[in-house]
């Protein structure tokens, strides 16, 4: 069985699909790695929903400003041309459709574009949603980066999400360790297979009908 793409390779592959000059919001986890793989000749401007455009890389410890954080509450920097703003303006950018691409991690994504990435729905869990529901409804293109299956081998690409939805019908493209998969009117459609990965393997690890590469 192949290993498919690494976390870094998944992020790099996603970055390839983001056009030059895009305003991009990155979720926590693998999506954060996208910043390391901006293709040569392209420039992305990063939005962080707590109130900044032009987010830069983490600072050296000595240069930290304790007031300069990203939405994941990690210390960051500002690039030249950055701007600070309050939360209502920040979510106007999101809800108003001004952010081009949001790259999210997920627990499940369904073949109709539904995404579930905020809650397992377990009765004793403390619900916490943050800006996830605003992002999936507002951003123009919702990309997902995720392992194709859970650690226990359950498919994360499914026919219908069993976890509570973050938003219905919002995901357009999924980057997994095994393949790039589009959400189409006909359900999942493999766009590209990771090197050495067969369509049969992808199909067997997907919890919904999936179409082979065209």
């Amino acid at each position: 069985m192949s290993t498919g793409w690494s976390r870094e390779e998944m992020a790099a592959r996603a970055a390839l699909d983001i056009p030059d000059g895009s305003y991009v919001n990155l979720g926590i986890g693998i999506p954060e790695l996208v910043t390391r793989f901006v293709p040569e000749g392209r420039e992305f401007i990063y939005h962080t929903e707590n109130g900044m455009l032009g987010m830069g890389p983490p600072p050296a410890d000595a240069d930290r400003d304790l007031d300069l954080m990203n939405a994941g509450k990690k210390y960051v920097t500002a690039v030249p041309g950055a701007a600070y703003f309050h939360h209502a303006d920040s979510f106007s950018m999101i809800r108003g459709g001004h952010i081009d691409v949001c790259v999210l991690g997920t627990m499940q994504v369904a073949s109709n574009g539904d995404i579930a990435n905020w809650s397992t729905g377990a009765p004793d869990a403390i619900p916490a949603v943050g800006g996830a529901m605003d992002l999936v409804q507002g951003v123009k293109h919702i990309y997902v980066i995720t392992q194709h299956t859970t650690r226990t081998g359950e498919p994360k690409l499914v026919e219908r999400c069993s976890y509570p939805l973050t938003g219905p019908g919002v995901v357009s493209r999924i980057f997994t360790d095994l393949a790039v998969v589009d959400v189409t009117d006909n359900g999942f459609q493999v766009v590209e297979l990771a090197p050495g990965v067969t369509f049969a393997e992808v199909e067997s690890k997907t919890g919904a009908p999936i179409l082979p590469p065209a």
Binding site: D20, P80, G81, A82, A88, S92, R95, G96, H98
Partner: protein, 236 residues
């Protein structure tokens, strides 16, 4: 490098089509993007719906655009003033349509469009003729009317300082509707008095973040509507 600068004013407005909805920044003469408006007159698009607080003054800027027969409908709060002659004449002749929107509602409807809010409730106009035809509703014992967002295809904006990413600052009360219109238009076209490099505007002082701006032209010495009118000028 991202660079939204255009070197030519005509190029910046070239693709505004007949029938477009165009927001024009400014409150009276303050903040009015005269050079962009005059370029739109030269360009000749017709049957425009224009959103501005007023309807222009004298025979320059917005008044000249209206006077040139390019505007079929105005959406504004105060369509007359001591020096507005063009709109009143065309309106009385039935040659231009008017949607009258109270000033605060106009501002909020524009912001709502930029913020992805399709409608909101406001007490403004309740109990007046301007509430006729609007849906009303009680919240906490008080009556409010529902108002829809107000979008545009283009916005023409004047600012003070811009960087190539589209970060903007304004001068004093010339700010008025402009930051809101930048948010609400599909394509925002800005004339700036001064152009600086990215990073030269303090991130704390940015009024319009660049995400809301598409095109910028430098107009280092812009004319001012009041000056043109005092000089008796007209356009074209």
């Amino acid at each position: 490098m991202i660079n939204k600068m255009y070197s030519s004013i005509p190029d910046a407005v070239a693709d505004i089509p007949d029938g477009a909805t165009v927001m024009v920044g400014g409150f009276g003469a303050s903040g009015s993007p005269i050079e962009l408006i005059h370029a739109l007159i030269d360009q000749g698009a017709r049957n425009l719906t224009v959103i501005n607080n007023n309807t222009g003054n004298g025979d320059v800027g917005l008044a000249a655009l209206i006077g040139n027969g390019q505007v079929s409908k105005m959406i504004c709060s105060f369509p007359r003033s001591s020096q507005s002659r063009v709109f009143p004449r065309l309106y009385k002749e039935g040659r231009i349509e008017l949607e009258l929107v109270p000033q605060g509602t106009l501002a909020e409807r524009i912001r709502a469009a930029g913020a992805g809010i399709p409608a909101f409730y406001t007490p403004t106009t309740v109990g007046t003729v301007l509430a006729e035809g609007k849906e009303s509703r009680e919240f906490e014992g008080r009556t409010y009317v529902m108002e829809p967002w107000l979008k545009a295809d283009f916005a023409l904006i004047k600012c003070e300082v811009a960087d190539p990413l589209g970060n903007l600052t304004y001068n004093k009360t010339a700010r008025n509707f402009s930051p809101l219109m930048c948010m609400a238009a599909a394509t925002t076209i800005v004339q700036t008095k001064k152009r600086v490099a990215a990073g030269e505007i303090d991130p704390e002082h940015v009024i319009t973040p660049g995400i809301f701006v598409n095109r910028i032209v430098e107009v280092p010495d812009p004319v001012h509507e009041d000056t043109l009118i005092a000089e008796g000028r007209s356009y074209p």
